[in-house]
């Protein structure tokens, strides 16, 4: 049987979302020109949760999603299958885009997403929000807003959902 260990419960995830929403507002000194874009597939629910929380604290901001699979650098090396279709129903020229993903690992997905975003326009700035930073970066990319820093081994898998964060596989330390 594969070992698994829950490291954040539903309340922990909810509190992390609330804190990150506050941090996003604080860092940008308000919400002028700020938009959230979730990465397909895992980042979309988190972008929506952050959007709902930000709307509760201040006011609603645009929330979109992007599928970066056609911009990946491992096409032809690993099976690639796009998730849901990208949906960015607002102009991103001059906005501050907060990219949102569930887990930050090698950084390659974020790099692909930066390229994808660039095809829609030129944001004034791009920031990165992730629920879990699990280390093992292969590119010079760092998050601006983090739910939890979680040291892992490369053999493990990190699952992030509304109702908790779980480490699966290896020793599940």
């Amino acid at each position: 049987m594969t070992a698994s260990k829950q490291v954040l419960g539903p309340d922990d995830v909810r509190r992390a979302v609330t804190r990150m929403a506050h941090e996003i507002i604080e860092r940008n000194r308000g919400l002028t020109g700020v938009a959230l874009i979730g990465l397909q597939r895992g980042g979309v629910w988190l972008a929506e949760a952050l959007g709902a929380e930000i709307a509760r604290i201040e006011h609603a901001i645009p929330v979109g999603s992007v599928d970066a699979s056609l911009h990946r650098d491992d096409i032809g090396i690993r099976p690639v299958s796009p998730g849901a279709v990208s949906e960015i129903p607002f102009a991103i020229d001059g906005t501050t885009v907060v990219l949102v993903d569930d887990v930050l690992f090698t950084g390659r997905t974020v790099r692909a997403a930066l390229d994808a975003i660039g095809e829609y326009g030129r944001p004034r700035a791009v920031q990165l929000a992730v629920m879990v930073d699990r280390g093992h970066r292969e590119l010079p990319i760092r998050p601006d807003f983090v739910g939890k820093n979680l040291p892992t081994s490369t053999e493990e898998e990190v699952r992030v959902e509304h109702d908790g964060v779980t480490i699966v596989g290896a020793g599940a330390a």
Partner: protein
């Protein structure tokens, strides 16, 4: 997927996969910069032994929007005119490093023959009277988006009208529409029906026009006149053409489709721009996205990695 040679070979699951992927490609095409780096470093060679405008340009555009390199081989200016055989031609071009061949040829079965001679992927862009699978895929995608039929075509009534016998479009579309779950009726003069038909037939367009969801008109090929398979073009139009009278009998939601090139005044005896259900330009637009999906599935998705180390 290694090759796309026929709809039967692709199957219902393959069709569903490609149509879902087409949604992504259509989204790329709506971007301010409709280009992605997905197939950088791949080379696609277009070999057309028969005339084509839309299919060749559509494949060429699709490959370029995925950042693949393209080569176009026109038989008219090639060494085929010096007597080089098809096999030698393919092997020569393949030696230049080609990942996929897009082939149109007058003989049925050419794509299967060619895939014995090269390790490159083969995409059938029309072989004789046999198959034209990307046309069928773009037609299915057009129906799916125009009628909101993402889940399949169960209960959808489609009439294919015209020269079924000599049409590779008809053959691929009959297979594809039925795999999607539609009820297909073939409408043609008896001389233009194949000896064995795989779907119910109707004697003329008036029999079906009132209760169909999709009217699919085929091009009436003028050379069939000289073979005396149709008495006159006027008589063909009278029984099988879409005339203003028949257009008024179409259901409000019904789509009118044509693979092009169109014979105005023959099978299309109305101005299609005045038909609310005409989706002929959408078919052309969707053709690019569908062919991007096919090229990506073959060259980029990595689904064949296990068998091709």
């Amino acid at each position: 997927m290694k090759h796309l040679r026929s709809i039967a070979e692709l199957g219902a699951d393959g069709m569903a996969r490609l149509l879902d992927l087409t949604d992504h490609m259509a989204e790329v095409n709506r971007r301010p910069n409709p280009k992605v780096p997905a197939l950088r470093g791949k080379t696609v060679c277009m070999i057309f032994f028969e005339d084509s405008t839309r299919t060749r340009l559509s494949f060429d555009t699709a490959a370029k929007r995925l950042s693949a390199d393209t080569m176009t081989f026109s038989v008219g200016t090639s060494s085929v005119n010096k007597g080089e055989s098809l096999r030698d031609t393919i092997e020569t071009v393949a030696a230049m490093g080609v990942d996929a061949f897009v082939i149109r040829h007058g003989s049925s079965g050419t794509p299967w023959q060619v895939s014995n001679w090269t390790n490159s992927s083969i995409i059938n862009a029309g072989d004789g009277w046999h198959e034209h699978p990307t046309q069928a895929l773009l037609d299915c995608y057009t129906i799916r988006t125009a009628l909101g039929r993402t889940g399949g075509f169960d209960g959808l009534r489609i009439a294919i009208v015209g020269d079924i016998k000599h049409s590779r479009v008809a053959r691929s579309n009959i297979d594809a529409f039925r795999l999607m779950g539609a009820e297909v009726t073939l409408v043609a003069p008896r001389t233009l029906l194949p000896p064995v038909v795989s779907a119910p037939t109707a004697a003329d367009l008036d029999d079906v026009i009132d209760d169909i969801d999709v009217l699919y008109l085929l091009r009436m090929q003028r050379e069939r006149m000289t073979e005396a398979l149709v008495p006159t073009m006027r008589e063909y139009t009278a029984r099988f053409g879409l005339t203003p009278q028949r257009a008024r009998r179409l259901g409000k939601h019904a789509l009118v489709m044509h693979p092009g090139p169109m014979n105005r005044g023959v099978e299309m005896a109305v101005d299609p721009s005045e038909l609310p259900g005409a989706v002929i330009t959408q078919q052309v637009t969707n053709g690019i996205a569908v062919r991007m999906a096919v090229l990506f599935d073959i060259l980029g998705s990595g689904t064949d990695l296990e068998v091709q180390p």
